[in-house]
């Protein structure tokens, strides 16, 4: 009926009910004032009869109940005062039972009962037992629930708990517990039964209404949790088994879920710990539709917090083998609840893992065990597609990283990579990034090849294309960031021991080489530099590795380097490769390995010739080559000549005249190394410079012809500076007259061309002249040299 009625009707009924209560309460109060017991009972029963309605929703009924409740307080005061009604309370207790309707009768009985207990004329346990028994007469779920909640409320301060007035003699705390348990059991039954009322069409509404009532039931558990004197023994032997029995037997998902939650919240942590077995056993017996994972999660969270609260309690966890029990229970729940989505199982594992990390941070095997169980579960289902589940797995994998703040620990977990295998590629990458970030954040150094191997296995999502990845889908920026991270990671792989470091490099290389052309430009440079660092370390130590002589080892490393850089050709990425070759050449030079260095140069030149086509790139490359070559002093005359010749040749063949010019005058340095053992071939320097001048001239003429780009006067000034440099360094082939004539040349050029070029080259030229003047004035050896130059 109620389901069909509108809200309006309900309001009306509620108003009627309230009016009825007020009306009868008025007469009741009059009788109270007159101390007329008979009338009091009559009108209070009439008033309470309003609560017999079936028309109201729980919420409205509660409203009504509260109004009656207020009146009952007045009644109780009256009952308490024997002088007002003249009856001993025991007679009163009988008298109220004469009421014909059960609901008013029971409310009155509870009210008198509470007075009866207070009077201590009867043992509280007897009265409580009687009340809780007699309430059985009200089987209507909502009315029964409210009645029993009234009983719970009036009896709350009269339980024979320890330290209370009502404890003692035959009344023990056990009686209090017994009473509350029984009331709880009955209330829960009533609560569960609400769902069987009314037609199925209003199921949803009923669920909602039931939910509103749940705290009435849960209140009992709170009381149980608060009763003084319930020690662990009693909790273990009586309270928990009885409560759990009710929870399991009621076979109602709403109730089971809520009550388990209550149990976990209201009782102390240490009790939970000691009764873990029973609690978990109950969890596995819940209805399949119950969200057991949340229940378990809450339990584990509580226990974790408990463990975290004080280190003193940790031994308790060990004592009861908390981990094993939890782990078993979770396994069982996952096995039995087939419908549980994978995300649920993962959530459970995350909780368990969190628990483990908090309680047993030293037990890596436990962590591994959890991950192992997770792997088993994941293997049993097709590839993960649920994004929420994925998130949980990421959380699962991140937890150890955060806890140990040291990736090295995670690397020892054998199941860790196996879990990662179950992630989809995107998530796998996210996870890999997390791992790398963790390493970066903690600045942890991975120092053995084995660990590196594992680590690369973990982050292989970043290292290479996984099957089925659609390359085009990748976001360019993300990809770059990922690869940069990998590059940074490579720098974290370090070991003081060259032997181990070499192994690490082998491993890294092995993995990186699988990365494909997209990744190599990012990953090869760090690897190369890492290797070069090792080379320099070895060279500095001059020591041996495993009996091999150093050069052999070095040669091996260089060989690897060579191969590694060669891999870049597949990209292709010639500029980068060129730079790396030059780096290696320099390193090889420092190690006095002439052929190796030569080889690298050869490679660089080949690249230059064959791969670098862009003129700007060529300019840059030439300058790099020249710069490097200039510094390298390992080469014999012949080799060096070949290389310098080549370099100069390339310089002269650059596309643009100014570039040619600059490259050529740069080449001049190849023949004049400013250190004691360096080559000093003044003649060839001069040749270079003259050649540069010729080119500059040609450029000048071209500009004159076309009236375009920047002034070749600049080139002349630059060349002038080179002249001055070599002049100062004491190149005998550079004479003051050369400089003199060059200055004049520039002056002439400037006169003939007073266009834009003047403005441009003026400051540079004038500061050059100023420098010369300064040197002249300074006197001394340098001054004398400059003496002959006339400005």
């Amino acid at each position: 009926m109620r389901a069909l009625a509108g809200v309006e009707d309900e309001e009306k009924w509620l108003a009627e009910g309230i009016a009825g209560i007020q009306h009868n309460a008025f007469f009741m109060h009059r009788a109270l004032d007159a101390n007329n017991l008979r009338e009091v009972l009559k009108y209070s029963a009439l008033m309470l009869s309003e609560l017999r309605t079936s028309k109201l929703s729980p919420q409205k009924y509660y409203d009504l109940y509260m109004r009656a409740f207020d009146q009952l307080r007045q009644l109780e005061i009256f009952f308490k005062d024997e002088s007002r009604h003249g009856l001993p309370v025991v007679d009163l207790y009988e008298l109220v039972q004469h009421a014909g309707n059960i609901l008013p009768r029971m409310y009155l009985l509870c009210t008198v009962g509470s007075v009866y207990i207070k009077s201590k004329q009867a043992p509280s346990k007897d009265v409580l037992k009687d009340l809780v028994e007699m309430c059985r007469g009200v089987q209507h779920p909502i009315r029964g629930l409210f009645l029993r909640s009234y009983l719970a409320q009036v009896s709350r301060d009269k339980l024979p708990e320890i330290g209370s007035d009502y404890e003692g003699d035959a009344n023990t705390v056990m009686d209090a517990v017994e009473f509350v348990l029984q009331n709880f059991t009955e209330m829960n039954k009533l609560w569960v039964r609400i769902q069987h009322q009314g037609p199925g069409t209003v199921r949803e509404k009923q669920e909602k209404e039931r939910n509103e009532l749940r705290d009435l039931v849960g209140k009992n558990l709170h009381v149980l949790g608060q009763i003084e004197g319930v020690d662990l023994e009693m909790y273990k032997e009586t309270v928990l088994p009885r409560v759990l029995e009710q929870v399991v037997n009621c076979k109602d998902k709403l109730a089971q879920y809520y009550l388990m939650e209550c149990i976990i919240q209201v009782f102390p942590d240490e009790y939970h710990l000691q009764t873990l077995e029973a609690l978990l056993a109950a969890c596995t017996q819940l209805m399949p539709t119950v969200d057991t994972k949340i229940v378990l999660t809450q339990l584990m969270d509580r226990l974790s917090n408990y463990a975290a609260s004080s280190p003193d309690v940790l031994h308790e966890f060990l004592q009861v083998e908390a981990f094993a029990k939890l782990s078993n229970a979770i396994g069982k729940v996952i096995d039995t609840q087939l419908e549980m989505p994978i995300v649920g199982a993962m959530t459970l594992f995350v909780s368990l893992l969190t628990f483990t990390l908090r309680v047993h941070p030293d037990r890596l095997d436990y962590v591994d065990q959890v991950l192992g169980a997770c792997v088993v579960k994941l293997s049993s289902v097709p590839k993960l597609e649920d994004s929420r589940a994925m998130k949980q797995v990421v959380a699962l994998l991140s937890a150890p990283l955060e806890k140990y703040s040291d990736i090295v620990t995670a690397l020892t977990l054998s199941n860790y990579p196996r879990v990662m295998d179950h992630l989809d590629d995107g998530t796998n990458k996210v996870m890999a990034m997390l791992i790398i970030q963790s390493i970066m954040k903690n600045d942890s150094c991975i120092s053995t090849a084995d660990k590196v191997e594992v680590l690369f296995e973990l982050i292989k999502g970043l290292i290479k294309d996984l099957d089925g990845t659609n390359v085009e889908e990748l976001d360019e920026e993300d990809f770059q960031e990922e690869q940069n991270s990998v590059a940074r990671l490579i720098h974290m792989l370090d070991n003081e021991e060259p032997e181990e470091m070499l192994k690490i490099i082998y491993v890294v290389r092995k993995h990186l080489m699988t990365g494909g052309p997209q990744r190599l430009p990012f990953t090869v440079p760090p690897l190369v530099f890492s290797a070069v660092r090792l080379v320099r370390q070895l060279e500095a130590q001059g020591g041996n590795i495993a009996g091999e002589d150093v050069p052999a080892t070095l040669r091996k490393i260089f060989q690897i380097l060579n191969q590694t850089i060669e891999a870049l050709s597949s990209v292709p990425c010639p500029e980068l490769a060129l730079r790396l070759y030059l780096q290696c050449a320099e390193a090889a030079s420092d190690c006095d390995l002439e052929p190796v260095a030569y080889e690298f140069f050869t490679q660089a030149f080949i690249l230059y010739e064959e791969e670098i086509a862009d003129s700007k790139a060529q300019v840059t490359a030439i300058h790099l080559i020249v710069g490097t070559l200039q510094r390298i002093n390992v080469f014999g005359v012949e080799n060096r000549d070949t290389l310098t010749h080549k370099a100069t040749g390339y310089s002269a063949r650059l596309l643009k005249k100014p570039d040619q010019c600059r490259a050529v005058y740069a080449c001049s340095h190849l023949f004049w190394v400013d250190d004691p053992e360096g080559i000093k071939d003044g003649e060839r320097v001069l040749l270079c410079l003259r050649r540069a001048l010729r080119i500059a001239n040609a450029a000048q003429q071209m500009v004159n012809a076309t009236r375009g780009s920047s002034g070749p006067v600049t080139l002349f000034v630059e060349i002038l500076n080179k002249y001055i440099y070599f002049f100062e360094k004491g190149n005998p082939h550079i004479t003051p007259s050369d400089i003199q004539s060059l200055i004049e040349l520039i002056n002439t050029e400037m006169l003939s061309d007073n266009g834009n070029t003047t403005i441009h080259s003026d400051p540079f030229f004038s500061s050059t002249l100023r420098y010369i003047r300064f040197q002249k004035q300074k006197g001394g050896v340098m001054g004398e040299k400059y003496d002959s130059i006339k400005l």
Binding site: G100, N101, I102, G137, V138, Q139, H140, P141, R143, G144
Partner: protein, 303 residues
Amino acid sequence: MNYLLGAFKPACNVSITFSDGKNRKQVPMKKENGQTALVPLFHSQDTISGKVCIDPYQGKKVEHNGVKVELLGQIEMYFDRGNFYDFTSLVRELDVPGEIYERKTYPFEFPTVEMPYETYNGVNVRLRYVLKVTVTRGYSGSILEYQELVVRNYAPLPDINNSIKMEVGIEDCLHIEFEYNKSKYHLKDVILGKIYFLLVRIKMKNMDLEIRRRESTGAGANTHVETETLAKFELMDGTPVRGESIPVRLFLAPYDLTPTHRNINNKYSVKYYLNLVLVDEEDRRYFKQQEITLYRLKEDTSS
């Protein structure tokens, strides 16, 4: 008017007092006019003694052909109203014929009177005890005065008092088992019991326990049976589930009950029944009736 009234008034005032009137317990009794009066209470084997006082009005004399007091036990059937069947009749002659001029008192005594039946006021029958004083006069009609008594008889505690236990039900619909702790209750007793629900397939509104009185009068073809429900006591609200047991605790004191009377002088019987009634949501009633025996237990002297 006063003298006129006086003309029709009886010549004297007759009153009956009991010798232990001040100590004797009085109980309320409903009179025919609906009012309740307090009436002295007797038990079988009591000695009924007292005084009859005849007080002529001022200046009048009473001539009479004798004064007597009778103790009558009468059964009156309402379909035969006014016709009393006396099952007990004791007489004491108090005075020989003569004249009374002034107040005169006669003591009387009926020693250890056998009053086997209790006073009873039913629907169709009543049983009463009465003291009747007759001042016999010739032509002007006798002067009569009545004094009602209430007789209650105590029964000893029954030797055998089994509980009532029974399983009843409607096939595939409702099975219950009920149990009342006794089959014989005294009038201030408490009925304790339990109702077990073994099978519940109907939706119930409530369950009541009724006390019904069945009064049968007459005999043979003239038997009249009258049933009254004296108590309706709600035991349960709502529908229980299988396995539920509902407690019964019914105090008999508040109800106006009499002991069970069986075949009183072949005139009538009064029997009591406990009727367990289940009402379903469509207001259908399912019930089971069980006879109980009520008896009067000697109360404590204090009460």
